[in-house]
């Protein structure tokens, strides 16, 4: 099924596949259901160069041979590719339009985001999910969020989030029901923005 691994450099995946995947998924489900709320990564995971623990855990929990992953140039280290191929068996693409999950760092050139799949009117679920590796997620006033999953409003601050992100996100929101969902992955925490979330940048 997966290519024969070079086991010498491989890092371990989840300790307990079923329980750890479930724990990470539950946090993702909560995060996507309640955009802007911050959740702690519920498992200890080692991460290969290029990724952080939260992004790694998200990919281990959600991807397999049925999902295609795109890694930004700074994420696409050999260690990261080997790790994902071995533990998830997922195809890794260099064509961002093919990605089910795209992974990048906040400081990367994010112009690729406009090429991510947004689904179509009949199947808006056929869209990509963007995992952004960030340094810090805070309950700060930078953004005021509203929409499904949010009682009244919620605030969220992501360190170093560029202005261009907001322009793209505003456009993405207007595509609804099509669009890309975003998962912010700090070394220890997760927050998400669903395509439904309205953002007021303060």
């Amino acid at each position: 099924m997966t290519a024969t691994p070079q086991t010498s450099d491989l890092l371990p995946g989840f300790d307990h596949a079923a329980f750890d995947s479930n724990a990470v998924f539950r946090v993702l489900l909560d995060a996507m259901s309640r955009p802007g709320r911050i959740y702690d990564l519920p498992v200890q995971t080692v991460s290969p160069d290029g990724l952080n623990a939260t992004a790694t855990a998200t990919l281990l929990a959600m991807t397999d041979m049925d999902t295609t992953i795109w890694l930004s140039p700074t994420c696409a280290t050999k260690a990261a590719s080997d790790h994902l191929k071995f533990h998830c068996g997922c195809p890794i693409t260099t064509d961002v339009t093919q990605a089910d999950f795209a992974v990048a760092r906040i400081e990367d050139d994010l112009s690729f985001v406009t090429d991510l799949a947004v689904g179509n009117a009949e199947y808006p679920d056929q869209s990509a999910t963007l995992i952004l590796i960030v340094e810090k997620i805070e309950n700060g006033p930078a953004m005021t969020l509203s929409g499904p999953g949010i009682k009244d409003t919620h605030s969220l601050a992501i360190k170093d989030l560029p202005q261009s992100f907001h322009a793209w996100r505003a456009e993405n929101h207007h595509l609804f029901p099509c669009g890309v969902d975003v998962i912010f992955a700090s070394p220890t925490q997760i927050a998400a923005l669903s395509r439904t979330t309205r953002i007021e940048v303060n």
Binding site: M1, A3, T4, D66, Y123
Partner: protein
């Protein structure tokens, strides 16, 4: 007096015990063994494998025993087991052209290269109950072997004979043998569905349903008159190609029935007329299913052939959504589950509407009484 219903758990367990008791029947009679089922009810076994989408004779025999001979229940058991199995590999396309043939007939040619090989068949048996099977048991005499060995590379009627003259459409062959094939057990079906998905659906579809639809195409609910170009039944080998090996290995043989139909031709002022095709393939020996499947396959190609849709067999969404007997059994039978909450809503509404109508009628009667003081004589 009202007592809240309790003890569902005990009732369920007891019902299951009773079921087991009834399955066994009279204990003075020898218990049926699964190998007896596997050997002597082999057509039940293959039907359960075909519609259960799992080629395992022993498990199918077990499922039939456990299901008390209810084949749809047995198919369900097979499916529920199959779904938990990890997938190790995808096979290479099987080669029915290289089938080790037990039976092969064509209705379109009296004689043909490779010959008509009757093999084991109910055809031409007189359907008279054979009471000796009941009274004495049977000791069949050994069937004689043919004088000539069966052609190892039995030519195919459609591809090798008819197509020689270009009289029949080519079956579109994939450019890449290893290109992915749709699999409705792994991906949700989307419409319009490709032919690969339609064929998979038919092959595991309910035999009775596919038969009835095939029959309907012969009675005017489609217009694609069919001849059986060829039916062949026998064994083919299944191969997988493990990535680390880089070459194919044989993992075993399966029994299959394949039917190819030659259908109404198609052409235009500028295009030479050609016959078209329908295709059926099913585990085991099951010509009823294979022929029906080929008829329905051809009928479902209506759009591709630019034909007018005139019957349900041509409507692939209708066919595919209703062919699965595990799905249909579950949903048809689920209406015996409690629905009293929904029914309560309906009761309340019907009572309310009746009251309203009664009030309205009473009011009108009252008005009528006052507005007609002098009725005619």
């Amino acid at each position: 007096m009202y007592v809240a219903v309790k003890g569902g758990e005990r009732a369920i367990n007891n019902a299951h015990k009773l079921l087991a008791e009834q399955r066994r029947g009279d204990t003075d009679i020898a218990e049926i063994e699964t190998d007896q089922i596997e050997q002597q009810l082999s057509l039940s076994v293959t039907r359960v494998m075909a519609e259960g989408s799992l080629y395992d004779r022993d498990l199918a025999a077990l499922a039939i025993k456990q299901a008390r001979g209810d084949l749809i229940e047995a198919i369900f058991l097979m499916r529920a087991y199959r779904t938990t199995l990890p997938r190790f590999a995808f096979s290479k396309p099987i080669k029915t052209a290289e089938m080790d043939v037990s039976r092969r007939i064509s209705a379109t040619f009296k004689d043909l290269p490779g010959g008509q090989i009757l093999g084991p068949t109910f055809d031409y048996t007189h359907r008279l109950l054979d009471f000796t099977l009941m009274a004495n048991g049977e000791q069949p005499t050994e069937a004689p072997h043919g004088e000539q060995p069966v052609d190892e590379n039995m030519p195919r009627v459609l591809d090798d004979i008819l197509n020689y003259e270009g009289l029949i459409q080519d079956e579109p062959t994939p450019v890449n043998e290893n290109a992915p094939v749709a699999d409705l057990t792994r991906e949700p079906v989307k419409f319009p569905a490709g032919r690969d998905l339609r064929l998979q659906n038919l092959s595991r579809g309910d035999e009775g349903f596919v038969l009835a639809l095939g029959y309907s195409t012969q009675r005017g609910y489609a217009n694609s008159h069919a001849f059986v170009g060829e039916i062949r039944y026998g064994t083919v080998s299944v191969e997988i190609e493990p990535e680390e090996l880089g070459f194919a290995i044989d993992i075993g043989d399966i029994e299959l029935t394949e039917c190819e139909t030659v259908n109404k031709f198609k052409g235009s002022k500028t295009k030479l007329p050609q016959f078209t095709r329908g295709y059926g393939l099913v585990f085991g020996q099951n010509e009823r299913k294979a022929i029906s499947m080929a008829l329905v396959d051809r009928a479902m190609r209506a759009n591709e052939m630019g034909e007018q849709i005139m019957g349900p067999a041509q409507d692939s969404e209708f066919v595919m959504e209703h062919s699965d007997n595990v799905q249909s059994t579950g949903f048809v039978e689920h209406i015996k589950l409690p629905h009293y909450v929904d029914f309560q809503g309906e009761l309340e509404l019907v009572r309310r509407m009746r009251t309203e109508v009664e009030e309205r009628l009473a009011k009108r009667d009252a008005e009528d009484d006052t507005s007609q003081p002098e009725a005619a004589e």
